[in-house]
Each structure stands twice: as structure tokens, then as C-alpha cells.
């Protein structure tokens, strides 16, 4: 299990649990302003969910989301970079210095439901 000295987020604030392959170089990223550690080779989704309990807010008012299919089919794991680019977290690979935002930067979509 990776301990994260720089993060104030405790173990209850991560969703995924690492079971093996933890002996990899660390990669530092920023999630919603917090500096956290991930491991080289992590998908962006795994990097975020080992430091947070969600990836994004649903635009339709039903709460937080943390992905669903992990194979690029459901599109439930979209996150944004600080400069507004959209990334599919399950098929992106984490990179040192990434700034990730879990709230969609532009105005939320209209609630069509």
C-alpha cells in the first residue's frame, strides 16, 4: 500500500486498493489543487482513484461518478486538465505534473432529464 506523505487525504479517501506492483517510480500530479503521488504506469483513473473517491460530478445531478467499464466504452470516467482538455481517465496514462480537475470547467450542461 502506498502511503502518501504529502496528501492530507487518509486511506478512507481513496476508492481503489493496490494489491501488487507497488515498487514503481512515483509520479507527482495535482488533483483539484492537491499535490498527490501516483505510480509510473498507472492509468489516470487508477492514479486519481488511489487518491480520491470519485472522478467527476454527473452533469445530471445524480452525484459523483468514478467510472464504470474501464475499457473505454462507457465514457463515465471523463476528467479535465487545468487548461480544459477532456481526458478519458481509463485509457490515459498518468504523466508527471498533470493537473487534473474533477469538475467540468465550463458551465454544466442543462439538466435534460
Amino acid at each position: 500500500m502506498i502511503d502518501n506523505p504529502r496528501s492530507t487525504r487518509g486511506s478512507t479517501s481513496r476508492r481503489f486498493t493496490r494489491l501488487a506492483e507497488t515498487d514503481r517510480p512515483r509520479v507527482r500530479i495535482v488533483i483539484d489543487g492537491d499535490v498527490v503521488d501516483a505510480l509510473a504506469g498507472d492509468t489516470l483513473m487508477v492514479a486519481v482513484l488511489n487518491n480520491a473517491r470519485h472522478l467527476r460530478e454527473s452533469e445530471f445531478g445524480d452525484g459523483r461518478r468514478a467510472g464504470f467499464c474501464l475499457m473505454g466504452a462507457c465514457q463515465d470516467c471523463w476528467v479535465w486538465t487545468a487548461d480544459g482538455a477532456r481526458l478519458r481517465a481509463c485509457t490515459s496514462v498518468v504523466e508527471q505534473g498533470m493537473h487534473i480537475v474533477t469538475k467540468q470547467p465550463e458551465a454544466a450542461w442543462a439538466n435534460l432529464a
Binding site: V46, R53, D62, F68, M71, A73, C74, D76
Partner: protein, 458 residues
């Protein structure tokens, strides 16, 4: 005439064996694959920096996985390999692909679609809470990233993947709170004659169940899912089911892996205008295929789980068969003995497939029983009640009509995860057989593309 231009979509077991067979005949196919690496979902490779051995990653299938990867390593120089490339439309003899924001149209003489499958999902109240994942997702988290989807995991649904993923989690040291199977045990007994078509696979399956029980995991069969409990802020907190005696049972957990077997990815076949037929055994629409994966459209072939969910071993056979069909149709010499042998093997695979469909049925009755406030469409949070109103008050009795009116199937997954259940909800509300509801039409692009995607000027 020069060599036919052949494109293989997908680099899983079907795509790799297809490409290999084409290369052996002297062709140089294009292999388009959405993933970063070959192997597909089932034999997905872990990143290079990971060190777990094949036996740990793929268990009883380690040799097959290693053989497939080794084959592709050799093939790479002999095919035009396009990884991380989305095939998103087919029109007028061109396959439209996008890689890294650039889009191209690739002309083809023969197209072999080996698009694989995704989990087949039946909604349950609360399945939109963060921490609910598909079974396939649960497996990918472990296989490709050495992670569990939570600290305490419940697996729910039905099908062989339910037991496979649960036992892989236990072996890897994850905390599995329960395995909840909607299929009653008696169905498995009744399906035995068909399942005996592949005795070794059946034995492996039974071993998984007894492994789980020996490991002290609660395994319940014949359950009815009631609810995934939790909150919009914190996600999953538990699962409630009714056991086979009708008693309510609750399990605490922070993650749920769920799925009801698999559904083929057929959007590209649809865009190629292949004919479909309704498969009563699995209650879904499948592309109509003739011998060896030929579709109703000349020049378009299917293989692997994207044609019909037969599993990885059958996908390897299907990939070879489709390649031989291409070769035959372009007047290459094909060894009839080889064809016969492959077809015989494939017939056993199909018998086993039908056994699985019987043993682990799609739980139709759950769609009818879904409470009005349960979300059917996770993409846009549209409830069963809204869908039923569309049917009962607005008269939409057809899947695409209902989609137009209430947006179930319109969201960013394009109906992959709500389509089958949505059709059952519509059928029940309208009082018609589900085949009358039809199927959601495939739409290009088959996955969201950025507006900024641009065409390559050639």
C-alpha cells in the same frame, strides 16, 4: 489485380489469429486496434514496468495468453499495425479511423470486424453510485493495474465471469464480501449436457466455485437484486438482495462488480449494413453470419465475441475461419482439411455457449420489476419511470422512438449499457415481445470524438 486490401479491426484473440492466417497466405493486412497493446480485453497486457508472471495474470489461460502475445510480437513487422486507433464509421468501402485527433479513411476490399464484447448489464436501483463497476472493469483493474475496485467488494450478476473475477480477486488478496448469482443452481444442472461439450472448461468453472467457498466467500445462487445502497456524495455502501427463499439479505461493501455475461460490440457491423437477427436464447440482436463469419454484406466478415459471445478460445478459431473465408473469396488456395477441423471445433464451442446461456440466463424479470425511481440510463440519469411514461403516455413501443423521446440510449455510452435492459422495460410496459421493440441503431461515430478531430489531407 494486386493483393486484396484487408483490414482487421481488433487485436484480441480473433483479430490476432485472423491477421496471422492472412500473413501466412502472403498478405499484409492493416490491423486497427483501439488499445495501446494487443491482447484484447481477455489477454490484455499489463504495462511494461509491471512484473507479475503470466501464471499470476491469466491463471489457467496463461499459456494461451503467452502464445497469443508471442504470435503478435512476430506479426508486428508483417502487418500495418495501428494501435490506439478508433474505427468509428464504415461508408462506401472505407473504414474511418481516428488516432490522436487525426482522422483518416482507409479503403478496403475485405474488412474483418473483431470488435469483441462488453459486459451486459441489467440495472438495479443505485447502480449509478460511484463504486459500481462492470465485472469486466473489475477484472481490468486487477489484471492491468494490480488494483481492487474497493476495500470490500461484492460481485453480483451471473455468468462465468462472475466466478472468474471473484476468484481472481480472492487470489490476489482482495477482500470479497460476497458473490451473488441471480441464476438458480438447477439451471446449471439442466445445462450440463451442453456444457459437457468442453469438459475441461466446465471443470475449471466448477473449481472456481469450490475455491471461493473454501476461501470462505459467501456464494449465493438464485438471488434477486433489490438495491445498491449508498449516497450521491460517498458512493456505494452496500448491496441488498432477496435470497432464493425470499429473505432479504444485506452486504456491506464500498464497491460492486456487476454483469450478466457479455454482449457483442456490433455497431460497426450495423454501420456496414449487415443484416441482424433476434437470438431467442440470449434475447438479443446479433449480426446474421453465414459460414466462417461471412455477413450479409460481401467483403465484410465477423469473428470473435463481436459476432457472437463464444469466448476467447472460439475467438481464436473464428479469427482463423474468417481469414480463410476472406482468402477463399479472393481465390486463394485454402486447405479444406484445416477448414473442416476448425468448423468442427467451433461447433463444440457453440454447444457450450448455448449451455452457458441456459445455465446463466439474462434476468428479464428484473427489468419488469425495476422500481420507477431506478436509473436505467447511467449516462443521463434517466429512470425506469421516465422510460415507462414514454411507452405508456407517449406511445413509443420501439427502441429508437423511445430513445428519441426520453433519451434512454442517447447518452455517451450510446446504449451499450442500457440498451438491452431498456428494450426489456419497453417490451414489458407495452406488453409486446422484446424482439418487436427492435434494437438501437448503430450511429457514427461509434464512440465520442472531439470536435477538434481533423482530417488528414492526402
Amino acid at each position: 489485380m494486386g493483393q486484396p486490401r484487408v483490414i482487421v479491426i481488433g487485436a484480441g484473440p480473433a483479430g490476432v489469429r485472423c491477421a496471422q492466417t492472412l500473413v501466412e497466405a502472403g498478405l499484409r493486412p492493416i490491423v486497427v486496434d483501439e488499445n495501446r497493446r494487443d491482447g484484447g480485453q481477455i489477454y490484455r497486457r499489463q504495462p511494461d514496468t509491471f512484473t507479475r508472471p503470466y501464471a499470476k495474470l491469466y491463471g489457467t489461460e496463461a499459456e494461451r495468453a503467452q502464445a497469443l502475445h508471442a504470435s503478435f510480437d512476430v506479426l508486428r513487422a508483417r502487418v500495418d499495425y495501428m494501435p490506439e486507433t478508433l474505427a468509428w464509421n464504415i461508408s462506401e468501402g472505407n473504414l474511418h479511423v481516428t488516432n490522436n485527433g487525426r482522422t483518416r479513411a482507409l479503403p478496403y476490399d475485405a474488412l474483418v470486424i473483431c470488435s469483441g464484447a462488453t459486459d451486459r448489464l441489467m440495472p438495479v436501483k443505485g447502480w449509478h453510485y460511484a463504486g459500481t463497476y462492470s465485472l469486466g472493469a473489475s477484472q481490468i483493474a486487477l489484471k492491468a493495474q494490480a488494483c481492487s475496485i474497493g476495500r470490500q467488494v461484492v460481485f453480483m450478476g451471473t455468468g462465468p465471469l462472475l466466478y472468474l473475477v471473484a476468484s481472481q480477486y480472492v487470489k490476489a488478496g482482495a477482500n470479497v464480501a460476497a458473490v451473488l448469482d441471480t441464476s438458480p443452481l438447477m439451471r446449471r444442472v439442466a445445462a450440463l449436457p451442453k456444457l459437457l461439450a468442453r469438459p475441461a472448461v466446465l471443470r475449471n468453472g466448477l473449481a472456481l466455485v469450490s475455491y471461493l467457498k473454501r476461501a470462505g466467500v459467501q456464494v449465493l445462487t438464485g438471488v434477486t437484486p433489490v438495491e445498491i445502497t449508498g449516497s450521491p456524495e460517498n458512493g456505494v455502501q452496500g448491496v441488498v438482495v432477496r435470497d432464493r427463499r425470499g429473505n432479504e439479505r444485506s452486504f456491506e461493501c464500498d464497491a460492486v462488480g456487476m454483469g450478466y455475461h457479455l454482449r457483442p460490440e456490433t455497431q460497426l457491423a450495423d454501420l456496414a449494413r449487415c443484416a441482424f437477427r433476434f437470438d431467442h436464447e440470449t434475447r438479443q440482436w446479433l449480426p446474421e453470419v453465414g459460414e466462417d463469419g461471412r455477413t450479409s454484406v460481401p467483403g465484410v466478415y465477423l469473428a470473435g465475441d463481436g459476432m457472437k459471445v463464444l469466448g476467447a478460445d472460439a475467438a481464436e478459431i473464428g479469427g482463423r475461419l474468417a481469414a480463410l473465408a476472406v482468402l477463399k473469396d479472393f481465390r486463394f488456395r485454402v486447405a479444406d482439411e484445416e477448414l473442416r477441423r476448425l468448423r468442427e471445433e467451433q461447433a463444440k464451442m457453440d454447444s457450450f455457449r448455448r449451455g452457458l446461456a441456459q445455465a446463466f440466463p439474462w434476468p428479464v424479470e428484473q427489468a419488469a420489476a425495476l422500481p420507477d425511481d431506478a436509473i436505467v440510463c447511467r449516462c443521463e440519469a434517466i429512470t425506469a419511470g421516465e422510460l415507462r411514461r414514454t411507452v405508456c403516455e407517449m406511445g413509443a413501443r420501439e427502441a429508437n422512438r423511445a430513445k428519441a423521446l426520453c433519451r434512454v440510449g442517447m447518452g455517451r455510452c450510446q446504449g451499450r449499457y442500457c440498451g438491452h435492459a431498456g428494450a426489456e422495460v419497453i417490451a414489458h410496459a407495452a406488453g409486446v415481445p422484446v424482439e418487436q421493440v427492435g434494437r438501437l441503431r448503430g450511429q457514427a461515430p461509434v464512440k465520442p470524438l472531439a470536435i477538434a478531430t481533423y482530417g488528414e489531407v492526402e
